[in-house]
Symmetry: D2
Subunit: 135 residues, 4 copies
């Protein structure tokens, strides 16, 4: 079962074309990722600070399938996939609720665990590795 995050489109997400700015689809998926980590017991304040080990996004791919307007109700699903002991991918879908529901975007990101001083790859912290392998 994928993790599910519910979100309403805010006015600040939109641009002068009247719909969500393309880069903000990625930010919405990142929110879903944060909620998934929090639900797995990971402390977000520490996780996303630079505490010597960081897990930056190395790659993103997104297919934008439908425009989203202010007030739209979204369901975002997040599925992690292991790549190696130091990296994983996330597959997210943004579904616009309504009748019928419509897939508004598919986003895939790759995350690489890194020692921020040495700039070398390092294994995922245990709690994160457990979340990925349960995904």
């Amino acid at each position: 079962m994928p993790f599910v995050y519910h979100r309403t489109v805010h006015f600040a997400d939109t641009d002068a074309a009247g719909v969500v700015f393309f880069a903000n689809y990625l930010a919405i998926c990142h929110e879903a990722y944060e909620e998934a980590l929090a639900a797995a017991g990971i402390d977000l304040k520490t996780f996303f600070a630079d505490t010597g080990v960081v897990v930056p996004i190395a790659r993103s791919e997104a297919d934008y399938l439908r425009p989203l307007t202010c007030g739209a109700k979204l369901r975002v699903t997040v599925v992690p996939e292991a790549i190696g002991e130091d990296s994983f991918a996330l597959r997210c879908e943004i579904i616009r609720l309504g009748r019928p529901e419509k897939c508004a975007a598919r986003v895939r990101t790759e995350h690489v665990c890194t020692s921020s001083q040495k700039r070398t790859r390092t294994p995922l912290p245990p709690a994160l590795a457990a979340w990925v392998s349960a995904g």
Copy 2:
């Protein structure tokens, strides 16, 4: 009773000082305003588009009382106050949940209903006026 909006601090809200960027406190209050309007039956897609009548913010004042880190749980309260037939103010408080709760910011905005072609003030639409006077 003020309208209440619950919000978690997202990573994208923060800046390199590790806490929410000051301008994003205002964006968070605007989300609460949107939710209050939606709860009052106002269609956000139409309301926030330029349909000939717009209700831009003419003034904001904010006191930033406490830093907010990623993952913090917030309760935002919104209280509208009539100024005249064509304008109103919002008073918002951002409360950081926890033991004890702490007020993280107080924000006041002024909104002026405007004809977007003529650039002149015009009375609030009835549904908005009703929401303000009920506030």
Copy 3:
């Protein structure tokens, strides 16, 4: 010769990890695209409004190669490539200036010209088509 856009990393671009938030790399490339269009004589206010024909981004791919901190000086290059009469791609590189220069990201976006009422593909407007074919 690619179009070149110079940009400094702002504090608002960064997140609590101390570096530019991943989705903001895409926003920075979009700024470069806007500047390239303006340099080609295209009016941005009209182009990016919904005037019946819109050119939304249908896909993005980004490789994030290096973190970027507040104050970093960037050179962003933009190269358009025709896909068909109704679509094109942009290839952008974000270079962090300094000694030595480093490539911080490579971003590719696909743009599809669309009739916003009919939701069907439509040929690129002449000025945009000219810019793409000159690219």
Copy 4:
């Protein structure tokens, strides 16, 4: 003579009403502040990180006088004013260029130098104090 920063309105600054989102006026003024600090020889990466001493914004006031559309050319002026040995204010004006020029916003922010561990006020660092007193 105030510090002057030139800026073009980007698509990402705008919202579905077709103009710059109100909170982004504050972000634009912050960019001007960053440029003023950099011009005074202050290293932004260090200044805006949490290195034990931070200078958060404690209050903002903004009057939004005119809407700004994508592609608009802006001149932002920044004038610092001392408040005490541990705090200062900035007065910013956002001028929309054109014939005639128009003032689009006036923004005032208060900045308080703070020990981030002790959460107590502390004197401005010398380089910042020098910039404020020269303002």
